[in-house]
């Protein structure tokens, strides 16, 4: 599947396209198929996202898992600071990245 990601313009937070808007949680991302570039262009123009781009992901029962480690780190947070990730209480969260 293809999913769309970028950063929130004002905060810089990593965001994912949900079909209706942007979420901080990759599990809410939707398959954009071949519409990613068009959505990115429109959303960037509306200043709802900064530097959007389309990535490959795998559809899993827990939601989309980005194909590349860089985007998995973006999705969760730095592997060396579990306390700063989106799931600081989950001791196994890091294994999802690696």
């Amino acid at each position: 599947m293809k999913i769309l990601t970028g950063n929130d313009l004002a905060s810089g937070d990593v965001t994912w396209w949900t079909g209706e808007g942007w979420s901080r949680h990759v599990e809410e991302a939707v398959d954009v198929a071949d519409q990613g570039e068009a959505i990115a262009h429109a959303e960037e123009g509306a200043r709802r996202v900064n530097a959007p781009y389309v990535i490959d992901a795998t559809d899993t029962p827990e939601g989309p898992r980005p194909a590349h480690i860089k985007d998995r780190i973006r999705a969760l947070g730095p592997t060396v600071r579990p306390d700063l990730t989106l799931k600081p209480a989950d001791p196994n969260a890091g294994s999802w990245v690696i």
Partner: protein, 543 residues
Amino acid sequence: MYKYDEYDHSIVASRVEEFRDQVNRRLAGQITEDQFKPLRLMNGLYLQLHAYMLRVAVPYGTLDSRQMRMLAHIARKYDRDYGHFTTRQNIQYNWIKLEDAPDILAELATVEMHAIQTSGNCIRNISSDQYAGAAADELTDPRPWAELLRQWSTFHPEFSYLPRKFKIAVIAADEDRAAMRLHDIGLQIVERDGRHGVAVYVGGGMGRTPMIAPLIKDFVPFEEFVSYMEACLRVYNRYGRRDNMYKARIKILVHEIGAEKYAAEVEAEHAHVKKLDLDPPRAEFDRIAAHFADPAFETGLSDEIDRSDPDFAVWLDQNVAAHKTPGYAIVNISLKPTGGIPGDASSAQIDLMADLAEKHSFDELRVTHAQNIVLPHVRKADLYAVWQQLRDAGLAEANLDLITDIIACPGLDYCSLANARSIPVAQKIANRFADLGRQRELGELKVKISGCINACGHHHAGHIGILGVDRKGTENYQLSLGGSGAEDVSLGQITGPGFSEDGIVDAVEKATDVYLAQREAGERFVDTYRRIGMAPFKEAIYG
């Protein structure tokens, strides 16, 4: 410490308000990201993996307690309670909001700090010896020279859009603690016939094409120093390649046309430039140098230190360096606790270091290119009290220049350019060699790790260097041996095929085993490597 004059205050304040307006226009949709990106980069604001990242300049690595406390305040108020000290003697914040950036810059300006020219194809922060003004082995304090260059290069209209970024280091001792010859221009202050001038090395650097800067002029007197730098940059600006960013650094130009040809071009340009009255009068240099005058060192102090606490004694031997003044010492604060993140410090730790500087080091601190902090002027009688407070704050790791004093770039955990993570590798090596006795048995051993070919982690200059690469979506690590960023400068050689994250730690350990088995008396790791060559190491690592 240099203090801003009215002009300095004015240009920094103007820049803050200019950037505030640019941010407002970006947030209001009046300018696009393509238009805004170069503007934010000129103010040190990057977009990284998780958020905006702000890089704040620490000119030649020197700052006072008021500035250090401001860095802690920014970490606490605008970031996630920590900062990352870098190999360029700067500090980076990883979780900055665009909407906060103008306020941060305004707060920095109140303590004479900024983020100007910490990005972009301009002359970056001038780096220097972290022991400047304190070292027992220096000819003179290099910081007035560095400050002169800072003033010359700030907003220089001709050098704001160079072919590529440009880094200058200034030292004044034969022991090179600033990786001087791995800079675009490296300057060593030397003396000839009773006059101070600079030996000029041009065309060094790391990145994908590492080069050691050749000497292009052995002595440029102070009276021609600035105009000669102007000529060096003009020749680069004229001939440096702009068609290919991978060949745009000055090292490529100097390498392609040769150091002699480059030097001849500079001489010809300098013959013209020196007539332009660019060189400041001696009185102006003296005005700047007065800011860096020695503090009021006490005389008649004892050099005796009570070494009865064994942990303190180890730290004393490892992390404390000789000072030029009897009764004083230079304290190195390691930001490399076992298993920690190299260069990271919490706001509480930054505040503590500021407090110690104010109370025990004439209000001065230094940031080192090895991502540590220095208290340059500590009375020997105060060392035990300083050590106790550092210990209580987790800042007394006695590992300076040992295998766990690892330089590591932020890597793929933070950096959008990285191909692999650096920090976890540093942590695993540090954990493997956690025993301090084992570290000290290995002696000086500089490990440097980069998460991509841009080499922010200085891997080319590591006695042991590690480069993270992306191999079909998987992190892989290349090992190199024999590099050095010091006065015995050399570039490391790759051992062979790369390793997994755990495999690279094993490979490092095997390399140290070879060293222990083969070393001769007095040899450091790099000395043994240079004597016996790569073969025994390759055999042990891959055999």
